[in-house]
């Protein structure tokens, strides 16, 4: 019995050593979810073409949620912001035209050192954004 326990613990330790040997550079291009699924979670479409107004509303929404802006670019259409509340939550939002009459808004967030890949926080963000925009956020199809 005790031999068995010893063996299992040896195996567990060996496995842990193996894991720790994997190079941490594998994080560079790592994602848990598939690209398609991530895009669906992180993007919404709005029926407007006013990019500047959308960007200004994105900034206002981020401020409402307690973020401080890090960077904003009107031409590239991106805004990055950080929220500090014991944790650090960093978010980048981009706004791009989609067809002739729509804008696509994409957000991605990082919580401390982890990517946020849950649908719920993004849903909350887009709810706040569409309220501020007085427009409905459509899922990308």
């Amino acid at each position: 019995m005790s031999k068995q326990v010893f063996l299992t613990s040896a195996i567990v330790m060996f496995a842990m050593m193996l894991f720790s040997c994997a190079p941490s550079t594998n994080q560079v291009l790592a994602t848990k979810e598939s690209q398609v699924k991530l895009r669906a979670i992180q993007s919404r479409v709005f029926d407007t073409t006013d990019k500047e107004k959308m960007l200004r509303t994105v900034i206002a929404t981020l401020q409402d949620l307690g973020f401080v802006v890090d960077k904003a670019d009107a031409i590239l259409g991106t805004v990055s912001a950080t929220k500090l509340d014991r944790y650090a939550l960093r978010m980048t939002v981009s706004v791009r035209p989609r067809g002739q009459s729509q804008l696509i808004v994409r957000a991605n967030a990082q919580y401390n050192i982890y990517p946020v890949e849950d649908p719920k926080p993004y849903q909350q963000f887009f709810d706040a954004l569409s309220k501020a925009m007085f427009l409905t956020a459509h899922q990308v199809d």
Binding site: D64, L65, F67, A128
Partner: protein, 186 residues
């Protein structure tokens, strides 16, 4: 023999529990991106309206931020954004005295807060535009402060938003002065 295995089992359980709690630390809190009652209160606290155009307000704000010792990190006038920061001491006498006393009695050294990075983003929003007369324009300005405090060991001890009404009140008082100076070209 039996007792030993039980002990091992318990230690395994504890390890598992630890791993579970550790993996919970990477979950974003539910309220992180949720609008709350506080959000509205903070918006009111952090926003003021001025009867001037966006350009004038932005340049008066940049001048004030410099007055206050901030460095501008980033700006995008097309979206009315200024991002600035400054590094300052975070030493507090009370904390140092406490640490020294504790060291005297217990011999244990406790690190104290050393420096802080204060960050702010200032965002303007035109509410009414008049191309001919700037005094007829109306622009909103919102500023948000946050800070990161590091102790003598180089560890982060605080990461927080600054929501003290007095700080915002004082900032906006100074901003109206800055606008006045700007209007009179001082």
């Amino acid at each position: 023999m039996r007792y030993l295995t039980l002990k091992r089992l318990i230690s395994y359980l504890i390890t598992c529990l630890l791993l579970i709690t550790l993996s919970c630390a990477n979950r974003i809190p539910n309220e992180a991106l949720q609008l709350s009652k506080e959000s509205l209160k903070n918006r009111q606290l952090q926003t003021r309206y001025f009867d001037t155009d966006e350009r004038t307000l932005l340049s008066a704000s940049a001048a004030l931020l410099q007055d206050l010792g901030f460095n501008i990190n980033e700006s995008e006038t097309k979206l009315g954004v200024i991002v600035c920061s400054k590094k300052r001491s975070a030493k507090s006498v009370g904390q140092i005295v406490g640490s020294v006393l504790l060291a005297l009695f217990t011999g244990v050294y406790t690190p104290v807060d050393k420096e802080q990075l204060i960050r702010a983003s200032l965002v303007t929003k035109p509410l009414y535009k008049d191309d001919h007369e700037t005094s007829k324009c109306r622009t909103a300005v919102r500023i948000t402060f946050q800070r990161i405090v590091v102790n003598t060991e180089g560890q982060i001890t605080r990461r927080e938003c600054i929501n003290d009404p007095k700080i915002y009140q004082e900032f906006f008082d100074k901003l109206s002065q800055s606008l006045f100076l700007e209007a009179n070209e001082i």
